[in-house]
């Protein structure tokens, strides 16, 4: 039986879909069977980030409605045979989802895969609620920026009340990813530090991702950045994927710029 992880954010545009694609691939590259599901009905995006947009034949709504079976709809990633992808419907709107259908789909996927990762739509409306309802855990993606953090807190609040696990008296696991950290700005006191963000949101950190221009280039090409071993964001995603697979990997401090580090080392010899 696999674990179901919802990737959520509250605010849009913080890197949720990029995180889903990269963590899914990272987990697959660790040898685990993983499926990533795009729950953003009507605004399909994960297919582009994974470079699989031309392979979509059936979507998850068709699977839920019995118009296609899961095997037909699952698309295998070019980057790893362990990674599969299930597309969002592009033509329907999110009102097609209901709890029974979602639960059935997720139960089926859990039997086939070690990890089921759900890419949530932005906002805190019904599409979001369906994404978190049957999740065992949630990864919350924020940027070190006030509106993203505030919206994340609202999303966490809804997670804590609408999750089926919580309603059953169990705990839904929550992990924070801080994305798009600019070390120079953190050092200059112009960007929130991760410690401050953790204190405000009061949840556990699973990884920090530095700002990296390569992320856009990677999405241009439909090749998740984790495949670029030299990329600092790709390395950060690889570390988080390892942690999700149970490896003990120390948190790297991406809030110190290279020049800042150099200054510190130079300071020792002064």
């Amino acid at each position: 039986m696999g674990i179901v992880i919802a990737v959520i954010s509250g605010k849009g545009g913080v890197g949720k879909t990029t995180a889903t694609a990269n963590l899914g691939l990272g987990i697959a590259l660790n040898g685990k069977k993983c499926v990533v599901v795009d729950f953003d009905i009507g605004q399909r995006n994960l297919d582009m980030i994974l470079g699989l947009e031309n392979r979509v034949v059936y979507d998850m709504v068709q699977v839920m409605d019995g118009e296609a079976n899961i095997k037909q709809a699952l698309i295998k990633s070019k980057a790893s045979p362990n990674l599969h992808f299930l597309a969002a419907s592009q033509t329907k709107d999110k009102s097609v989802l209901n709890s029974q259908k979602v639960e059935k789909l997720i139960t089926d996927l859990k039997e086939k895969f070690d990890f089921v990762i759900l890419d949530s739509p932005a906002g805190i409306e019904s599409g979001f609620e369906h994404t978190i309802e049957f999740a065992d855990a949630a990864i919350i993606v924020v940027n070190p920026e006030v509106s993203s953090i505030r919206d994340a807190d609202r999303a966490i609040g809804i997670l804590d009340s609408k999750s089926a696990k919580v309603k059953n008296g169990e705990e839904v696991l929550k992990w924070l990813i801080i994305n798009r950290i600019v070390a120079d700005m953190v050092e200059g006191g112009e960007m929130l530090r991760s410690d401050d963000i953790l204190e405000i949101l009061d949840i556990k950190l699973i990884g920090k991702i530095p700002e990296d221009k390569g992320v856009i280039e990677a999405s241009n090409q439909g090749k998740p950045i984790i495949l670029d071993k030299k990329s600092i964001a790709g390395q950060a995603y690889a570390r988080i994927s390892g942690r999700l697979c149970g490896q003990k990997i120390d948190m790297k401090n991406v809030e110190i710029s290279d020049s800042g580090l150099f200054k510190k080392i130079a300071g020792i010899f002064r």
Binding site: E145, V146, I149, R150, D153, R154, G157, I158, S161, K162, V186, G188, G189, E190, M191, L192, R193, D196, I200
Partner: protein, 80 residues
């Protein structure tokens, strides 16, 4: 060196932290606890209605230091 120019001026990250802390605290207050409040109200109403007429149910979450409590007011319907 740059501190000279920033003298007396708060760094924007710490301004952000202060503003966020306050905004989030008031958000959490305003949502007043739980989104399942309406369902709970309806159920309480059903239970009480079995015995006596009810006009309405009001639930508030009250926080006093470490103690959190739900204050439930049931307004009875005298005509029922």
């Amino acid at each position: 060196m740059f501190d000279f120019f920033n003298f007396g001026k708060k760094k924007s990250a710490s301004v952000a932290k202060d503003r966020l802390t306050i905004a989030i605290m008031s958000d959490r207050d305003r949502t007043n606890g739980y989104p399942f409040m309406d369902e709970m109200k309806a159920e309480i109403m059903d239970v009480v209605q079995k015995y006596v007429g009810v006009r309405g149910v009001e639930i508030r979450k009250e926080v006093d230091g470490d103690i959190e409590a739900l204050a439930i007011d049931v307004e009875l319907d005298k005509n029922a």
